[in-house]
Structures are given as structure tokens and as C-alpha cells.
Symmetry: C2
Subunit: 189 residues, 2 copies
């Protein structure tokens, strides 16, 4: 693995700190000290803190979805199994000791302005996740793939927040059980 560029390294550090401590609470100085990068270097890679936030969210968007999809594909053979595997993948995510909820939900809770680019990126992420679930639902020949995707995504959000707030990773299993019923009744296997 080649040594990451300053840019990549800053983004990685930003993701870590924004996830754990939030966006406003993470100061540039602290971030730079953690990354071991000088201020000047950062500001010639990013125009502002906001731009670094955008970059971090976009990077995390790509990496997270990629990892998530790979894990789901590896955990189930049929589309139906993959739909269910979503919740198993979620559970291992929740059990990571660096789990602090969904970075995008957290972002929106700090930036509520309706036209904020941060909001847009976060909504986009959720939309792309929904698209993935929708595709799986179609592959599984679900009666109403849109409806099933809505339902499973809502269950996933519920599990994420429950795991985050109430420190109960087993929320994933609760969601999975409900999901199984919905999948079974939507997919005549």
C-alpha cells in the first residue's frame, strides 16, 4: 500500500474525528495535530473547513457503501439472503468499538439548513443505499420492490439509531426479524 497523500491522510483523520466528536466540536487545530500536518498544507488542499467536511463525507460515502455491499454480497447467495444479510452486516458494524452512529445522520443533526451542501451529500448517501436495497428487492422478485426497500431502509435506520443511543447492537437482530417477515411475505419463494 503506497503512503497516502496529505490530502487522503487529512480526509481519513477528518472522518475519524468527525465521527467520534462531531463537526463543530472538532477544531482545525486539533485535527491538524492528530494528522501531523501543518495548517498551511491543509489550507492549500482545502479552501475551508467546510470543504474538508464535504471531502470527508464524500470519501466516507464511497468507502462505506463499497464495504457494505461487499460484506452483504459475501454473506448471502440469493438476493433474498442478501436482503437479510444487510442486518447481519449492520450488527458487526454496531459492535465496532469505533461505532458512533451514522456519519450522515450526525451531519444532518448539526447542519439543518434545508439547502446545505452537507445535507445534500447526506441525503444522496441515503438515496444510494436505498437504490442498492431496491435493486436487491427487484432481483429477489419482490411484489413491490419500492415498498420493500422503503421498509428495509427504515428498519436499518431504526437499528442504527437504537444501537447508537441505547447502546444496543442487538437492535440489528430485532430489525432482521421484522425484515425477514416482510421479505418472506413480499417474495413468493
Amino acid at each position: 500500500m503506497p503512503r497516502p497523500s496529505r490530502r487522503e491522510h487529512l480526509i481519513e483523520t477528518a472522518i475519524t474525528l468527525f465521527c467520534e466528536h462531531g463537526y463543530h466540536a472538532t477544531g482545525i487545530d486539533r485535527l491538524l495535530e492528530t494528522a501531523g500536518v501543518s495548517k498551511k498544507t491543509m489550507y492549500q488542499h482545502f479552501r475551508s473547513k467546510e470543504e474538508l467536511i464535504y471531502a470527508a463525507l464524500r470519501q466516507y460515502d464511497g468507502v462505506f457503501r463499497n464495504n457494505f455491499m461487499k460484506a452483504v454480497e459475501g454473506a448471502g447467495k440469493t438476493p433474498k439472503e442478501k436482503l437479510l444479510a444487510i442486518f447481519d452486516v449492520a450488527e458487526t458494524w454496531f459492535n465496532d468499538n469505533k461505532f458512533f452512529g451514522c456519519m450522515f445522520i450526525n451531519a444532518i443533526s448539526e447542519y439543518s439548513e434545508k439547502d446545505s451542501p452537507i445535507r445534500d451529500i447526506s441525503r444522496q448517501f441515503k438515496q444510494l443505499m436505498w437504490n442498492y436495497v431496491f435493486d436487491l428487492a427487484k432481483e429477489a422478485n419482490a411484489n413491490e420492490p419500492k415498498k420493500l426497500a422503503n421498509e428495509l431502509c427504515l428498519l436499518l435506520e431504526g437499528a442504527i439509531v437504537t444501537a447508537q443511543v441505547s447502546q444496543k447492537p442487538e437492535a440489528a437482530a430485532t430489525a432482521k426479524e421484522i425484515g425477514k417477515k416482510l421479505i418472506d411475505s413480499a417474495v413468493s419463494s
Copy 2:
């Protein structure tokens, strides 16, 4: 209605601003200007900003749950109907133009330290909401009231976050439909 005390007024203002803009992003100066209260007065009612946050969360905890329960009681006669009404009440909440998600979820996303009092208050709120749903589930003679409460609370969280992030208040209806199936199969009516 008597004129509210400075303390109450500050807490009300704090709730409004913390909900919309978050905790770190809401500065004391801005809050005081909005409330029309001097700094000295605030600091002889609250030792610090953190204490004001605690007070705001505790106040909101009481008011929100009270309003929520009243709305649910008014929207359904039987315990079973009340369980379903949870999602109708949620939907009207989501459609409020001052809806910015759940204040406690948002709080935890900014204060992730495991022993933070802010975290404790937020978890407590979720626990009390769970207790209420659990009581309704018992009244409805559900097979496994604990399980049903877990499920319905998870659905509610999912609806809240979906409404917040994706700006879809209709997430409440999605959750309600799933909830109805779970209630029906748990309650032999």
C-alpha cells in the same frame, strides 16, 4: 397563563435553538440575544452552558412525553388502537415545519462520551418512551410485550430519522403499516 420566569424562558429559547442548530453551534451570546436576557441573569440561573443543556433536555423530556402520550390517548380508545396511533402522532410531529429530528438523538451525536450526562439524559428519555410503549403492549395483552415494545420503538426511531434526513414525513405511514402487522400478530384480538 402567567408570564414565564427568566429560567423557564431561557430553557424554552434553548430548546428552540438547540433543536434547530445543535448544541455546539448555538453560542451563549446568540441564545441570550434571542431570549432577550442578560448574560449575568443567565449565569445566576445556570452554572454553565452545559447545565443549561441539561435543563433544556430535562424540560423537553417532560413536555414531549406528556404531549406525546396525551395525543396517543386521544387518538385511540383500545390499547391496540393506541399502539397504532403512535405513528399517527409521529406523522403530525414530522410535518411541523420546526421538526429537526429528535433532540436526544441529535444530542448524542454531538456528545458521544460514554459517561456524558447528556448521553444519560437522552438514554433515559428513550427508556421512558419504551416503558410507555411496553405498558400499552401489556394492556393490549400482547404475547411478548417486551418484544413488541422493542419492535415498535425501533420502527419509531427509523421513521424519525427517515423523516429528518430524507425529508419524508410519510415514513411514519411506512412504519405504521409494519407496526400494524406486528401488533396484529402479537395481539390475538
